[in-house]
Symmetry: C2
Subunit: 196 residues, 2 copies
Amino acid sequence: MSDALSLDALIHALKRLPGVGIKSAQRMAFHLLQHDRNAALVLARTLEQAVHNVRHCERCHTFTEAAVCATCLDAQRDHRKLCVVETPADQAALERTSAYRGLYFVLMGKLSPLDGVGPHDIGLKKLFERALDGSVQEVILATNFTAEGETTAHVISEGLKARGLLVTRLARGVPAGSELEYVDLGTIAHALVDRR
Amino acid sequence: MSDALSLDALIHALKRLPGVGIKSAQRMAFHLLQHDRNAALVLARTLEQAVHNVRHCERCHTFTEAAVCATCLDAQRDHRKLCVVETPADQAALERTSAYRGLYFVLMGKLSPLDGVGPHDIGLKKLFERALDGSVQEVILATNFTAEGETTAHVISEGLKARGLLVTRLARGVPAGSELEYVDLGTIAHALVDRR
């Protein structure tokens, strides 16, 4: 394929997508050029439009095309509650439960010292300003229950509690529908400690 | 993410890539917009350029930016041998062996009746014209050793043998470096039949 430089460049660009190696990139490029050139043009256009239009909400930091996202502007929501999540996908998962009607703050990342991600790389300063603007009474930490997510939750919790704010964390426990026999020991231990 | 229409459109476009589901598409879009907007723009540009520049070689049907690809124009190659492969990636695998110095014909697909891919959808007519243009003395079938690849090889073989051409097939057998104990029965059976 040495005399198709555009093809080599396309494969190289596809390889920069997360989770895509050289074989997948080749298969994608082959598929697009052989079977679906329209999809390639649509993808090119949507990439440019997204880069041009998508920015961060001034209040909650999630992706939006307006200055402030629709969720933050929703007067029906409980503005006294602020739920902190790592990504827009996590926010979407919480929204699907219909069990929460407060506002969000989306970190767009997590503390990960091993990868060089510190407090300045995720929006911690912005979160603290937002949480302490006077309207928020409770901050609910819904970062993931991974090592990095727990660390992030801990750092936020310490910082906000010191300033006198009520800070809670999503409950840890046995997942709905699961049998104890197949649940890992750490989860059962947490469920015992947090029993009610 | 309902008020970021460009983001939804991008996720939808990424989902059209082969092997990419909704979760992967979301992760890709998030990564590009949050961490690597430059990669997004590069990908958009290379997609457009590839769609615009890449076409099929008039002689061997592979991807190229010229009318005839560099391989077909190479006077050092043995123009009496024509090796038939399914994809440019298969051609590249054969080239890496340095064991073949003839020409190629790239089908850009394989016969797959269950998926509605018939002789007209892959370049069989063009292959027959090419193989019977007077310069080719041997056609080497290097389609994959899958059900579809074998069917494709069989159809080509029948068609060309009827026209008096020498048609050969890559040898089936035990892969180099493998232990018989771990080789599947079908492969061992073929290696027995094709022993030499």
